[in-house]
């Protein structure tokens, strides 16, 4: 359980070894805290300084020890083998503002993050299960030049990775998906964009489809869980999520590019 050299050090080391003076002291400059400290315009957010803590007898840190002692005083101590107090394992929390979901393990947190936050379109905040689908989405929905290009050449890519075919219209692509790749006709990641204004105008705020409601309020990622397990199986994605309109996800920060839209 313990490193043998540490045990040996504790129990059998010689006088010179145990002397603190024999340990080489590393140089203390430059201090990284100085490197961390802010430049004139913006003072550093970092405030850590080492400090020795003197704890009063009533301090919370001492509670467990005091309880144990009083149980002993009152002759209630059972052996160490009985009633062990297991240490609590830290939980993980999604730090995306507005999400705040808690997870027992790092894996379940990572899973959640991958499913809901990793590949998110910066403009309309939809999440996608793969880079390929996200790329296509951005290109087709948010790229103002796409429509122009589509008039000249086949621009609608097949959604299946590895199939490099391109089509003139989204309908043609959909047909291809259904006929050749046997996709369902209601594949969640093949929605057409509804245009309110004529193409060629400024990129508009996209109307969100029904399944992916865009209500303000806390996200409800519980529905995402089934899909997470089926991520590998594209034929039945089956999840939806609700994301508050004011949320801007990590990887798609657009604050610098779209002023005025973000409320914080």
């Amino acid at each position: 359980m313990f490193r043998p050299d540490l045990v040996r050090f504790l129990t059998a080391a010689g006088a010179e070894e145990i002397c603190v003076g024999s340990i080489p002291v590393l140089p203390v400059h430059p201090k990284p805290s100085e490197l961390c400290s802010g430049i004139e315009e913006s003072p550093s957010a970092f405030t850590f300084t080492p400090r020795r803590m003197r704890l009063d007898k009533d301090h919370d840190l001492f509670e467990d020890g005091d309880i144990h002692r009083h149980l002993y005083l009152r002759d209630s101590v059972a052996g160490m083998s009985e009633l062990p107090q297991a240490p609590t394992v830290a939980e993980f929390r999604c730090h995306i503002a507005g999400c705040s979901q808690l997870f027992d393990t790092l894996e379940s947190y990572e899973h959640h993050y991958d499913a809901l936050h990793r590949r998110v379109c910066a403009d309309c905040k939809r999440a996608f299960p793969s880079d390929h689908l996200l790329d296509i989405h951005i290109q087709e929905w948010h790229d103002s030049l796409f429509q122009l290009m589509a008039k000249k050449q086949n621009m609608y890519q097949c959604l299946v990775e590895g199939c490099d075919l391109k089509f003139k219209t989204s309908t043609e692509r959909k047909d291809h998906l259904i006929k050749v790749h046997r996709y369902p006709s209601d594949f969640r990641f093949d929605k057409t964009k509804k245009n309110r204004r004529p193409p060629g105008g400024a990129p508009q705020r996209v109307e969100v489809s029904m399944e992916q409601g865009d209500e303000p309020g806390a996200g409800e990622p519980m529905e995402a869980e089934p899909a997470v397990q089926k991520r590998g199986d594209r034929l039945r994605p089956g999840y939806s999520y609700k994301v508050p309109a004011s949320i801007c996800f990590g990887q798609g920060s657009v604050r610098g590019f779209r002023g005025g839209r973000r409320r914080k």
Partner: protein
């Protein structure tokens, strides 16, 4: 812990494995925690002779049958002397196990005078029996019962200098019980000279007596005004000057060694706990230089780590306090910070990071203390594998853990560019990105700062990609931006998702419009 054997013997008599016992103990714990919050946690001790064990449980039932009149008769029997006096007293002692009988007795006229008279009388046997009776009364939680025993205190104190160890022990616990939670009694016994008497007792070679002295001193010190009335000024300095730090640390080292080799008895944590608190507070109470001469044995650090690891499972509170002492040792100390690195204790500390309720925060404090000393320390911490662990702690729920992780991370990233590269390779920058939009200022500001100042290549690539992706400006400066992009790309090998999408689509697409040749990506 001499008492522990007696306790275990008793515990076996009851059904300790039973669910009932467990429930009862949990209830007791709950009560204690509440009492501690109210600063009302006071415990008395009741000593019973071993030979009484078997009859003990049965007799309580019997004594309930005693009515007032019967008690009066018993008391009269005690008062009137003769051969039956001692046996009457013994019966009385058993009767007094019942709280109702206790109340009745103190209400009877002259009852306490009789007892105190016998306590101070010439018959040794009656003295002992009377003392047992008073001891029973002292263990009562009812204030009136305790108050009735006050006339006995001067005698009890006098007898502390006697030779009979068991009798001394009995008097000590009785006095301790009477002082418990009662400042008036405490003031009285202080005036009656208890401290000098205790000073004599504590030098006795008998361990049970010494433990009893410890009990009563603890009761005296537990009072709220103890620091004004009992503890002298500059107590820490006095303790340190008498070698308290060196004694306590060498004991901790011995215990650490015993724990590491599995040579421990049950109840050893009852000894380790107060030692940790002594060392911890002595270190914090004065300048480290005063203690430095007593902290020459680097095994103390190893012992503290071993204790934290060993007791994590059965007593996480002890593990936490061990780490607290480690914090007090390493704070502002290049010597002990270097020692932590030199003795390769960092991996053991990292193993404690998954545990909450103050354990991971304390570990992070210790690591931050070490990192704070200088870039060389940060480099060694990075080599010990701290970055992957931080990538996990950054995602934890407790904001204090995340804040401390960011602080440590800042120091590590500031010390070397390799650390920054490794961090990005581990995917850590994504965690920071997520944090930029966190509602808590402490997290948001630190995360943003790190991304902007210590991971600039990452954020530069990102902004360039976003620029291309959004493509609001179809402009001719794309060429020089492009060059920047490629320079950054080749210099910085981090995998960024946006790169592929933005670059592959946007750039090649965009360039096909303006017909600029692009090198293969």
């Amino acid at each position: 812990m001499w008492r522990l054997n007696a306790v275990r013997h008793k515990a076996r008599g009851r059904n300790t494995a039973g669910e009932e016992f467990r429930l009862k103990r949990r209830e007791q714990e709950r009560e204690f925690r509440q009492a501690r919050k109210d600063q009302q946690l006071v415990s008395k001790r009741l000593i019973e002779e071993d030979e009484e064990e078997d009859e003990g449980a049965m007799d309580t039932a019997d004594s309930k049958l005693w009515k007032d009149q019967e008690l009066v008769e018993l008391l009269q029997g005690v008062q009137h002397g003769g051969e039956k006096r001692a046996s009457n007293l013994r019966t009385l002692r058993k009767v007094l196990r019942s709280p109702e009988a206790q109340l009745i007795l103190i209400g009877l006229e002259n009852s306490m005078q009789v007892l105190v008279g016998l306590l101070s009388g010439s018959s040794a046997q009656c003295q002992l029996e009377a003392a047992h009776c008073v001891h029973q009364l002292s263990s009562s939680t009812c204030a009136r019962v305790g108050a009735a025993c006050l006339p006995a205190t001067p005698y009890l104190i006098t007898y502390l200098s006697g030779q009979n160890a068991k009798f001394t022990e009995l008097c000590l616990y009785t006095l301790g019980n009477l002082c418990a939670g009662n400042m008036a009694v405490r003031d009285k016994v202080l005036a009656q000279g208890i401290i000098p008497a205790l000073a004599v007792c504590i030098q006795r070679p008998n361990l049970a007596v010494v433990e009893a002295v410890g009990f009563i001193v603890a009761q005296l010190l537990q009072a709220k005004d103890a620091s004004e009335k009992i503890i002298p000024d500059k107590a820490s300095e006095a303790l340190i000057s008498q070698g308290a730090v060196s004694q306590c640390s060498s004991l901790l080292i011995t215990l650490g060694g015993a724990v590491a080799t599995g040579n421990t008895e049950e109840g050893i944590e009852l000894l380790i706990w107060p030692l940790l608190r002594c060392v911890g507070n002595l270190l914090a109470g004065s300048a480290l230089e005063c203690c430095a001469s007593q902290l020459t044995d680097s095994r103390l650090l190893a012992a503290l780590c071993i204790l934290a690891q060993t007791f994590l499972q059965p007593h996480p509170g002890l593990a936490r306090e061990s780490l607290w002492v480690l914090n007090n040792l390493t704070a502002d100390s290049s010597v002990f910070s270097s020692a932590v690195l030199y003795l390769s204790l960092v991996p053991s500390l990292i193993q404690l990071l998954p545990f909450s309720k103050g354990i991971n925060t304390m570990v992070l404090q210790v690591l931050a203390n070490v990192a704070y000393q200088g870039t060389e320390y940060c480099v060694q911490l990075t080599h010990s594998g701290l970055l992957p662990a931080l990538c996990a702690t950054l995602k934890m729920a407790d904001p204090a853990v995340v804040t401390l992780s960011l602080e440590v991370l800042c120091m590590l990233l500031a010390s070397s560019s390799q650390a920054a590269e490794e961090f990005v390779k581990l995917g850590g920058s994504a965690a920071l990105e997520a944090m930029r939009y966190n509602s808590q200022d402490e997290l948001r500001l630190r995360a943003s700062y790190l991304l902007e100042h210590h991971l600039p290549a990452y954020s530069q690539v990102r902004s360039i990609c976003l620029y291309f992706r959004n493509r609001h400006k179809a402009c001719c400066c794309v060429h020089s931006d492009f060059k920047t992009l490629f320079c950054v790309l080749t210099a910085y090998r981090a995998k960024v998702h946006l790169l592929r999408s933005a670059v592959n689509h946007s750039v090649s697409f965009f360039l096909s419009v303006i017909e600029v040749k692009t090198p293969a990506l």
